[in-house]
């Protein structure tokens, strides 16, 4: 055996190495985001259009009664702000799914997966990177919304952070799960039509569920099974310094389920990738 080769030392990977790995992955996600200015602007313009135009138009049409967590009548803009925050995170989660499909196609996903760290850790780190980026977008959006009379209590901005982490993780892990079953970029249009839009409209993002119940009991039932509803409510309550325990439990459970399925799908011995020949198709 070559003497030089015998000098290769097998290292133990401890908490410090795990931290460095996760920090590196999050940093890369942030760098990519900052360098794609178009993506940043698009991510902001989307909810702002809803806030400035849609909400203004519907303010007089859609009256919102006093419902928790609000203690007074609120402007429609105020009501839909948590829904728009959810929208930012929903799009971000699905975009990270798009990035996974893209990454897989160009191969950067493969370079991530040959890291010696456990796969669940690598995927969770990638997810954490996406969540960090979405939180940045949310706070910039809230800053602009503040000038539009959306003025939650200052402490609400801090209380919002853990809710954003959890809802971001849920929507990101949903995207991650979908990325393991989507093979091509074109299918992202399908994700838009069959995941993003139904999730957004069949939730409490734009209207309280009691209004939906009046319109259609069936749609109301569907809304109640939509995890996005609970993400929005968790955000809404947190912004006004309250905890909706049921939403918290629902979002935490969905996060665990989605993440477990995503890790399963990417598991080298059990997952879908192995069964169908791997990303890009192995020869």
């Amino acid at each position: 055996m070559n003497d030089k080769a015998s000098s290769h030392v097998t290292r133990t990977l401890g908490p410090v190495q795990y931290y460095r790995c996760m920090a590196g992955i999050v940093w890369r996600e942030a760098l990519r985001f900052v360098q794609q200015r178009g993506r940043f602007i698009a991510a902001l313009v989307r909810p702002l259009v809803w806030l400035f135009i849609f909400a203004a138009g519907f303010r007089s049409v859609l009256g919102v009664s006093i419902i928790p967590p609000y203690s007074t009548y609120v402007l429609y803009e105020v009501y839909i702000t948590p829904g728009l925050i959810g929208m930012i995170q929903l799009f971000n989660g699905m975009q990270s799914s798009l990035s996974m499909v893209y990454d897989r196609e160009v191969g950067t996903m493969r370079s991530l997966l040959v890291s010696p760290f456990p796969r669940w850790f690598l995927l969770t780190s990638k997810l954490a990177g996406g969540v960090a980026v979405s939180i940045l977008q949310v706070y910039v959006f809230l800053l602009i919304a503040w000038f539009w009379e959306v003025e939650p209590p200052i402490a609400g901005y801090f209380a919002l952070l853990p809710a954003l982490v959890l809802s971001g993780l849920m929507l990101g892990s949903l995207g991650l799960m979908l990325s393991s079953v989507i093979r091509q970029l074109e299918n992202f249009a399908g994700v838009m039509n069959f995941v993003i839009f139904p999730m957004f409209f069949l939730s409490s993002a734009l209207y309280p569920l009691w209004r939906m119940k009046e319109a259609s009991p069936l749609l109301y039932q569907i809304c109640q099974f939509n995890p996005f509803t609970y993400a929005v409510e968790l955000i809404r309550f947190a912004l006004y310094l309250k905890v909706d325990w049921f939403s918290l439990a629902a979002v935490a459970t969905c996060t665990l389920v989605f993440l477990s399925l995503a890790v399963f799908a990417y598991n080298p011995s059990k997952g879908l990738i192995a069964r169908r020949g791997g990303p890009g198709g192995a020869s």
Binding site: M1, N2, D3, K4, A5, S6, H8, T10, R11, L13, V16, Q17, Y18, R20, C21, A23, G24, I25, W27, R28, L31, R32, Q35, Q36, V106, G107, T108, R110, S111, L112, L113, V114, S115, P116, F117, P118, L122, P268, S269, G271, I273, A274, R275, R276, G277, G278, P279, G280, A282, S283
Partner: protein, 249 residues
């Protein structure tokens, strides 16, 4: 007892009914260049996917520096450097950012990552391009960056999956020379998958893979002798052609 940089013993793999690999045996010693010769669809990429643990081998064993890839992936993968067939560097990030990201994926500190990245870039003559975006590099330069990246964590085994595809003659030769010098200087074991026969030298080890099966292995000289051919190209054509005819019968 010596430990090979790579040992593959009795590995088979199927995708549904299609057998991609059948009882593959292969060894790469430290400091050795082993060419994995095969046409497109021979099973080279599947074998690389198994070694890099994109998916697990269900039969046989794959060891990197004595560590089983399936049972001890943490130990095995830290000794493995990979240059994939498709470009896997991030075109929007700088050369240095790509390398330090890779260093982080192996748990190296930011400082260590930067130092090692710069020393690898100096070795390939691209230290002055460290802060340039990958997309501003030529194809050959980007490939060299990928090799540098694969070496940042100082692996014992370097896998290269058709690394010279799409490059001009000069760049191909540069990359060959670079990898061979790494092998000599660092005692790196190299598994180089290719279907370009001019990339192998007589003293190299080679494995001929065809339709998932190993048809011949040994030094290039031995393979040529065994096939009764005058060159590795003829030997490869004879072996794979003969096999195709046998299969047809």
């Amino acid at each position: 007892m010596t430990t090979n940089a790579l040992s593959i013993n009795g590995v088979s793999h199927s995708f549904g009914a299609r057998k991609a690999l059948v009882d593959v045996n292969l060894a790469v010693e430290s400091g050795q260049f082993c060419a994995l010769l095969g046409l497109n669809g021979a099973g080279k990429t599947t074998l690389f996917s198994l070694i890099t643990r994109l998916y697990d081998n269900v039969s046989g064993s794959i060891e990197v520096l004595g560590h089983d890839v399936r049972r001890q992936p943490v130990k095995a993968l830290q000794h493995l450097g990979v240059v994939f067939q498709n470009r896997t560097v991030d075109a929007d990030l700088s050369v240095l950012q790509n390398l330090t990201y890779h260093a982080a994926l192996h748990g190296l500190s930011a400082r260590q990552g930067r130092e090692r990245s710069m020393s690898e870039l100096e070795r390939i003559g691209l230290a002055d391009r460290a802060n340039d975006k990958i997309r501003s590099l030529s194809g050959g330069q980007a490939r060299r960056v990928e090799i540098a990246r694969a070496l940042v964590h100082r692996p014992a085994l370097l896998l290269l999956d058709e690394p010279t595809i799409g490059l001009d003659v000069g760049s191909r030769q540069d990359i060959q020379d670079h990898v061979r010098s790494l092998m000599r200087e660092n005692g790196l074991g190299v598994l180089w998958a290719t279907h370009l026969m001019d990339e192998v030298q007589d003293a190299d080890q080679a494995v001929v893979l065809h339709q998932g099966k190993v048809l011949a292995s040994g030094t290039v000289t031995n393979i040529i002798e065994q096939a009764g051919a005058s060159s590795i190209t003829d030997a490869f054509t004879d072996l794979t052609g003969q096999k195709a005819m046998e299969d047809a019968e």
